[in-house]
């Protein structure tokens, strides 16, 4: 597999800083299964004192499962063991137990209350702990908090409303609060060292904010605690971490020293080898006409985006989370308001600000959202009810539904799209993920659209259904349907797409055509997106 050196992570060599002291955190044989599938498979690694340790991996690699086990949300399988500061800790951890051990978390959404001020947010944890009626001296607290923030180089007014702070200051506030929590919890335990877990803290930050954040992280590591830095952004991991642990498909790929490992080697560890070439026959030719032309689209982190999609084409869009690709289906459907830009749909030119789902549906555009539970369906209702919702008026005369016709048609659709059971009366959420998605595909394709916008179409879908969905896309494209597929599943994109646009920081940074479409090529462009930017895109104007 050509892995970089130091593959065996269970017994890392001591780092320079720690001088042989016990690791802050040491995990061994950590596994966790969901419904028979291992989300984490025998993972072992250790975080030394005074290091920034990166945790890298794609979506679904097991990163978040690992964090959730530490946070006490999930229990690991039995054989796992955990040591904190060299002392064994019994698993599973209870929610909040890690805090008492000196492990604090800062999640992507920071856990701040934007309506309250800096002081309230800072001491909310202490207020939650103490006696409910203990009087609070607000001016003394304000002085204390200001002092703490200053000691980290943060010049914030404790009375400022958090919602009005910049993104970076909010992130730094959350980090300082977490560090203070660690210090408090470790008081009176001279030996123990703390651990700050940063779970994708930079996703919402502008570039220039990241440097400020990293300065704070270095300060924290130097003076207070080790840091576990969870990310899928390679550049950032290379910039801030001392060592990196990489997960793929729930398995440990290795723990390596960042300085000794190239970006290319890290990408190889993250995505693995191309296991197979995609099989679909090439589709169609030229002169099919444009299904959709997008000009100057702005909004949701996307800047001045221009691209088009032909009839009968499957266009993939991808990038890291936060690069903007994932909002595009929602912007184009009017599910989320865009700021500026125009779309041409057939002969109609529309301002994006005027887009709404109803209008797009009339224009033959449909959306299969990534979140089936919250945006795609009503799980408590039946499959038939979900399936037929968009076409009810076609099965009604003088405003009265024909239940028999509805039942017959929905039964037919369910067997055509191989939804099992093909029973329209079944409750939608009792179906497996794959069958749920096939039913939604049937729901929309029966309206005979000209453009399908999809987001992560095979997330939570079993292998067999995944193949079937690919085949359905392929068949629909051959019949002239245009499909825009936003996904971070490179394997999927390589299999089904005619063309893939790679996004970085809200812009297209590369365009890959059919002949270059392999899982690895896409991954390299995606992880290279940050470092390539803002240089020339790979294939300008394709």
């Amino acid at each position: 597999m050509g892995l970089p050196p130091q593959d065996q992570a269970a017994s890392p060599t001591p780092t320079v800083e720690s001088g042989g002291a016990a690791p802050v955190l040491s995990i061994e044989h950590l596994s966790r299964a969901f419904g028979g599938v291992l989300a984490l498979d025998d993972v072992s690694f250790a975080i030394e004192q005074g290091e920034v340790h990166g945790l890298l991996g794609e979506n679904g690699s097991g990163k978040s499962t690992l964090i959730k086990i530490l946070a006490g949300y999930y229990a690991p399988e039995e054989q796992a063991s955990l040591q904190v500061n060299g002392r064994p800790v019994r698993l599973p951890l209870a929610p909040g137990q890690a805090r008492g051990l000196g492990i604090s978390f800062v999640h992507q959404h920071l856990g701040l209350v934007p309506e309250l001020n800096v002081l309230d947010n800072f001491i909310v944890g202490e207020l939650a702990q103490g006696r409910a009626t203990r009087p609070v001296s607000w001016s003394a607290e304000a002085r204390r908090v200001r002092g703490i923030l200053e000691s980290f180089g943060l010049h914030l007014d404790p009375r400022a409303t958090v919602g009005e702070l910049s993104q970076v200051d909010r992130a730094r506030l959350a980090i300082v609060r977490a560090v203070e929590e660690i210090k408090e919890n470790l008081q009176g335990d001279g030996e123990a060292r703390g651990l700050l877990v940063l779970d994708e803290p930079t996703v919402f930050l502008p570039r220039e904010g990241i440097d400020q954040l990293f300065a704070l992280v270095r300060d924290v590591v130097a003076r207070h605690a080790s840091v576990l830095f969870v990310s899928h952004d390679l550049d950032e991991v290379q910039a801030i971490t001392d060592r990196v642990t990489v997960l793929r498909d729930g398995r440990l790929q290795g723990t390596v020293r960042t300085a000794e490992t190239s970006g290319k080697a890290l990408v190889a560890m993250i995505v693995g080898k191309d296991l197979e070439e995609f099989e679909a026959e090439p589709r169609g030719g030229s002169d099919r006409g444009q299904a959709l032309v997008v000009r100057g689209l702005c909004g949701g982190g996307v800047e001045d985006l221009t691209f088009s999609i032909e009839r009968g084409e499957i266009l993939g869009i991808t990038g890291l989370i936060g690069s903007g690709f994932e909002v595009i289906p929602y912007l184009l459907y009017g599910a989320r308001q865009a700021e500026a830009g125009k779309v041409a749909l057939g002969d109609d030119e529309l301002e994006v600000s005027s887009l709404d789902p109803r209008r797009m549906l009339e224009g033959g555009v449909v959306l299969l959202p990534g979140d089936r539970q919250l945006l795609g369906s009503v799980g408590e209702l039946t499959v038939g009810e979900n399936l037929m919702l968009p076409v009810l008026s076609e099965y009604a005369s003088v405003g009265v539904l024909h239940p028999r016709a509805l039942r017959k048609v929905s039964k037919g659709l369910l067997s055509e799209y191989d939804v099992r059971p093909s029973n329209p009366e079944a409750i939608y959420h009792s179906l497996s993920g794959g069958n749920q998605q096939k039913a939604l595909l049937a729901k929309w394709l029966q309206t005979d659209p000209s453009l399908v916008l999809v987001h992560e179409p095979t997330q939570g879908v079993d292998v067999g259904a995944r193949q079937q969905i690919f085949a359905m896309f392929d068949r629909a494209a051959r019949e002239g349907l245009a499909i825009l597929c936003a996904s971070s599943d490179y394997d999927q994109l390589a299999r089904i797409c005619d063309r893939v646009l790679v996004f970085g920081s809200g812009k297209i940074v590369a365009e890959l055509r059919r002949e270059d479409l392999t899982k690895n090529n896409i991954a390299e462009r995606v992880y290279g997106a940050m470092s390539l930017n803002p240089q020339q895109p790979e294939d300008p104007n394709g």
Binding site: A335, P357, L401, R420
Partner: protein, 355 residues
């Protein structure tokens, strides 16, 4: 996940692995058990109702199981039935309407005032009350949907406002002497010995059942109530549907008000309050039967008459008046708690089964 590896070992063109959930589930015994469970949850309330009837018939054989009592039970509580039915559409579409009881009192005062003091023809007075209710419903809708304020607080405020108006225009006095035509057509005319008001309520029940069950409108309300995002992304006019439901509840509440005035011949301004809780109790209890988990017209019908039967029986036993509130309150609490308990048990069973 492991999917990638499985994928790669799958020979090309092989059929997809069979999804075990699709298989005809379980043994015959299990399907019988399932059918039984569905039956119990669907018709359980009717069963309890029957038991209540039997128990009271045994305890009070002379006064309870009589035609006169049946006619009385059905005839006198039609106002509550109509008011409870008014709540079905907005609750289905996911919004509270606490103003219905006040709108009901307002429209009955309006009819009485316009007819008795202003000498308007009764039909014109009724029409005016319906128009006023339409406007109140529109205000509710615009505040809730247009400004995005919580329906609970909007309808509480608007309802209180309407109550204030009701007291104002009536000088907080009872108004009596409403057109005998109305009284005739609501109370004294009977079919099968039951007042017309019952038959109007039954007719409304039919109409709503048909609308909710056999038109696209009903399905749309259902989806809007369960998930507004899904509805919007499927092209439903979510805002219009919600406003429409709130207007319909006000207008139906006004119909309840007209029936109220007709069955009493007059009206006191505080008439509305005592109806609010029973109406909610009935709609929520109704959502546990016939179509469990969904607010529905026939369920509401069953629930109203179940509650009324219970209270009438208790009164015949000589129990004091406060028992009404005990009964309605308990029914509402049980109606909202029961499905939760049921669902939790089902969820834990599913988890145990490893699905």
């Amino acid at each position: 996940m492991a999917s990638d590896t499985v994928n790669s070992t799958l020979p090309e063109g092989s059929p997809p692995p069979y999804d075990p959930r699709g298989a005809g589930s379980g043994s015959a015994g299990e399907s019988v058990r399932k059918a039984l469970l569905t039956g119990v949850s669907r018709y359980g309330l009717i069963g309890v109702w029957a038991i209540v009837i039997v128990v009271f018939s045994i305890l009070r054989p002379d006064t309870f199981p009589t035609t006169a009592n049946l006619q009385n039970i059905l005839g006198t509580q039609a106002v509550l039935l109509v008011l409870a039915l008014a709540l079905v559409a907005p609750l289905m579409a996911g919004d509270f309407d606490l103003s219905v009881a006040f709108v009901m009192a307002f429209s009955s005062i309006m009819v009485a005032k316009l007819n008795v003091d202003q000498h308007w023809p009764i039909l014109v007075a009724m029409l005016a009350a319906l128009v006023a209710a339409f406007l109140i419903g529109t205000v509710n809708g615009l505040l809730i949907v247009g400004l995005g304020i919580d329906s609970f607080i909007v309808t509480l405020g608007v309802g209180t406002l309407v109550f204030g108006f009701t007291e104002w225009i009536s000088n907080a006095q009872t108004i009596s002497g409403v057109s005998p035509h109305l009284v005739e057509w609501v109370l004294t005319n009977r079919i099968l010995g039951i007042s017309m008001s019952f038959w109007y309520g039954l007719l409304l029940c039919f109409i709503l059942w048909f609308l909710f069950q056999y038109t696209p409108l009903g399905r749309r309300f259902l989806f809007v109530g369960f998930n507004r995002n899904v509805s919007r992304l499927t092209g439903l006019r979510v805002d219009r549907l919600r406003i429409g439901a709130l207007i319909s509840s006000s207008v139906i509440a006004a119909i309840a008000g007209i029936l109220y005035v007709g069955s009493q011949g007059g009206v006191e301004p505080t008439a509305g309050q005592s109806f609010l809780l029973p109406a909610f109790a009935a709609t929520y209890l109704g959502a546990t039967t016939i179509l469990p988990g969904r607010f529905n017209a026939w369920g509401t019908f069953v629930a109203v008459y179940f509650l009324v039967t219970g209270i009438t029986g208790l009164q015949l036993l000589g129990v004091q008046n406060f028992v009404q509130n005990l009964f309605y309150g308990a029914a509402l609490v049980i109606a909202v708690a029961l499905p939760r308990i049921f669902n939790r048990r089902r969820a834990s069973e599913e988890a145990a089964a490893g699905t």
